[in-house]
């Protein structure tokens, strides 16, 4: 498992993105999946920056690993207060324009793009695992 740990701030996004897309390419993942993986990574990291640490500084860690069934998985960890993004209320994606709100859209996208999502709190860490199936050829 390869791991990258950086300060949880917007400036780290680009390095995390590069790390993950390189690992994904090495694993032989279909290149059509890469934009989806980038989106999921960025949504979760920005969520972490906003929710887990708010005004204070902290670090985030991203790990990439293959699952036995061939899925490509990411694991994102932070040391902020307990926060389960999967419990965020789903946005109303059918409301008319005037009533439409943006809260929760990021995690809604993550849920739709990923094939498997799991949150757990362990040793003072928020751990979110996200897996993507390799598309059938």
């Amino acid at each position: 498992m390869e791991i990258l740990r950086l300060p949880a701030e917007l400036e780290s996004l680009e390095r995390f993105r590069k790390f993950v897309t390189e690992r994904a390419a090495e694993s032989g993942l279909d290149s059509r999946l890469i934009p989806k993986i980038e989106l999921v990574l960025e949504e979760i990291l920005t969520n972490q920056v906003m929710h887990a640490y708010k005004e204070r500084e902290g670090e985030a860690e991203v790990a990439c690993f293959p699952r036995r069934d061939g899925c490509f998985c990411l694991q994102l960890r932070d040391w902020g207060p307990e926060f389960d993004p999967l419990k965020q209320a789903a946005p109303d994606t059918a409301a008319p324009l005037e009533e439409r709100r943006v809260g929760g859209l990021g995690i809604h996208l993550v849920k739709n793009m990923a094939d498997h999502l799991e949150y757990r709190r362990e040793d003072g860490k928020n751990i979110l695992t996200v897996c993507f199936k390799k598309p059938a050829v």
Binding site: L10, L13, E14, R32, P35, K36, E38, L39, E42, E43, T46, P91, T93, A94, A95, P96, L97, E98, R100, V102, L105, G106, H108, L109, N112, M113
Partner: protein, 113 residues
């Protein structure tokens, strides 16, 4: 990285987006759109042809701008989205509340009707 190219013809403004609309670049677009709306732009087409990716921070900008357009009478049409970008709009339900067209011609024509 995001590049915003702008062209104007009478009251029509066309914005061409190139690159990525993410948490880092979304504020740049937000500011540009606010300036254009403040300048009294009447019709706007946004060409997504060279936009590789959009995340929720980018959707947020378009939602806020579409609301502003509705209030101030600006006509807005989006066009030429790549499949992954269109999918993000679709999953978010934005394809129901924004005018999105396959070609720039169709987008511009819709603003005249």
């Amino acid at each position: 990285m995001l590049t915003i190219d702008e062209s104007r013809e009478a009251e029509l403004t066309v914005l061409q987006l190139t690159g990525r609309l993410d948490a880092v670049t979304a504020p740049e677009l937000e500011q540009r759109l606010a300036t254009l709306a403040g300048d009294g732009c009447g019709k706007m087409a946004v060409d997504f042809g060279k936009l590789e990716m959009i995340v929720s921070a980018g959707l947020r900008v378009f939602l806020a701008f579409a609301k502003k357009c509705r209030k101030s009478g600006i006509r807005l049409a989006l066009c030429r989205m790549q499949p992954v970008v269109y999918e993000v709009f679709k999953i978010s339900g934005f394809t129901e509340i924004l005018a999105i067209f396959p070609t720039r011609e169709e987008a511009v024509r819709s603003l005249d009707s």
